[in-house]
Symmetry: C2
């Protein structure tokens, strides 16, 4: 790390973002919107995606591998842009690494607690995220009177990856998964997986207009901004930022999906070995 800061001020080093695959791009995009001068190094572990059906032990192991990839690029902060990784690995990683690390669960929960009027909050996420109980714990810590209804939606990620973001099938799946959340009468629903914002239209339709959908991307970007400012780590260089996109499988499929996520092509995507 000291060698990296010899070459460039600490503050000119990039912001690291990792995800199990493609979903974290929504978080990376919010960071570049809010912090237009920052450089991003994004790593998607596309060789081992998805994490949402894997165990705590595997998710922690994979998350550490991802940290080690990003640290080679001299990142000044790491954003875990994956709810499943944040659920199981954030506290372990904060203990074991010196670089500041931000997850997506605390920002998403904070936002939900701000917007709810009734305190009845729904959470949808992967099996592994829901099994961790992290969203419920975080929300109840922030708002002890909250009543949280949490449900896994395992087919949402494959539906998004297949590009079926609307239509009859996706609506049927959403109706099935969201029935218990509707029944609980929530006024706020956390999209607790970075793939889910792509299904916003269908989810909003099934939940009805009265329910506010919360995704953690914007709120997480605000947390990154606050952290960089408070530690004097905002990028100073006048050179235009160059983002890097790294994946553990071949880049082709990632590139195609990225276009669907972001609405534009990524300049360059490279494969790197994570283990």
């Amino acid at each position: 790390m000291s060698r990296v800061s010899d070459q460039a001020g600490q503050f000119d080093r990039p912001v690291g973002v990792f995800d199990s695959g493609i979903g974290g791009l929504t978080v990376a995009q919010e960071i570049t919107r809010l912090l237009a001068n920052e450089q991003i190094v994004y790593f998607g572990d596309t060789a081992r995606v998805p994490y949402g059906t894997k165990s705590r032990e595997s998710v922690i192991r994979f998350s550490k591998d991802n940290m080690n990839v990003l640290l080679k690029y001299g990142v000044k902060v790491v954003v875990i842009a994956c709810n499943t990784s944040t659920s199981w690995a954030l506290s372990v990683i904060r203990r074991e690494y010196a670089v500041p690390v931000i997850g997506v669960i605390e920002p998403g929960s904070r936002r939900a607690v701000e917007v709810t009027r009734t305190g009845r909050i729904g959470v949808i996420a992967t099996q592994s995220t829901i099994a961790s109980g992290k969203y419920t714990q975080t929300i109840e810590r922030l708002l002890p009177r909250a009543q949280v209804t949490a449900r896994p939606c395992p087919l949402f990620v494959p539906l998004v990856e297949e590009g079926w973001i609307d239509g009859k099938v996706t609506e049927s799946v959403a109706e099935e998964y969201l029935a218990p959340i509707r029944k609980a009468g929530v006024d706020t629903l956390i999209l607790g997986c970075t793939h889910y914002p792509l299904l916003k239209t269908v989810i909003q339709k099934v939940m009805g207009k009265g329910v506010t959908l919360v995704d953690s991307a914007t709120e997480t970007a605000r947390e990154v901004k606050a952290l960089l400012e408070s530690r004097g780590l905002a990028r100073q260089s006048r050179r235009p930022p160059r983002h890097e996109f790294l994946v553990s499988d071949e880049p082709e499929h990632f590139r195609t999906l990225a276009k669907r996520f972001l609405g534009h092509d990524l300049a360059s995507v490279r494969r790197v070995d994570s283990v």
Copy 2:
């Protein structure tokens, strides 16, 4: 290997079976039905499942890791009970390893060519298997007049893993995927992924009674039998066989799904590191 054969005759060593996860259990089950005295060592790479959305390079790398796990158990033959692995890695592995290796594409194709009357054969499989073109090549080699219609069905694996093996959603998905296959007027349809036999009822309903569904499990087991007999490798021991089930993620989820696949509990499932 010589040390293993010092302890037990070559023929008393186990049959190795690997898959990306759970699907290969259908093949393992057919082997134990046809060859009741054989011992199986099964390895499911549940930490990196699925393979069907991954690239050729990653599938080859993972398949070699799986071979290396099985070789530690002194297997006398390896069955690649995964269509995606067979598609990309079978020829590479046969070149690089001394142990005899059987895939699932040749047996499934042979069976389809036997049962078709019109020569119009459909193939459904993962994206990666279809992209490899291996089924079409194999069928056309066995039956040059064949007309093959091949289509990927990416949501079938997640539907099976979610346990939605029938019902409205699964039927809608099947109708969408199978429409071009029906239009092609096939009389035979290869279920080119070891998860798909669990969706047989829905697939048969959508395709109609006139279409014969072919899965490679039975035919692959026959090929194992023929190979063991021709090489004098059939197990001689009178001790009842003890099968071993190994996975790369925690065993819990595998155990639950295995019960759904096999209709009974697996005696023991252990986690091992594949890399």
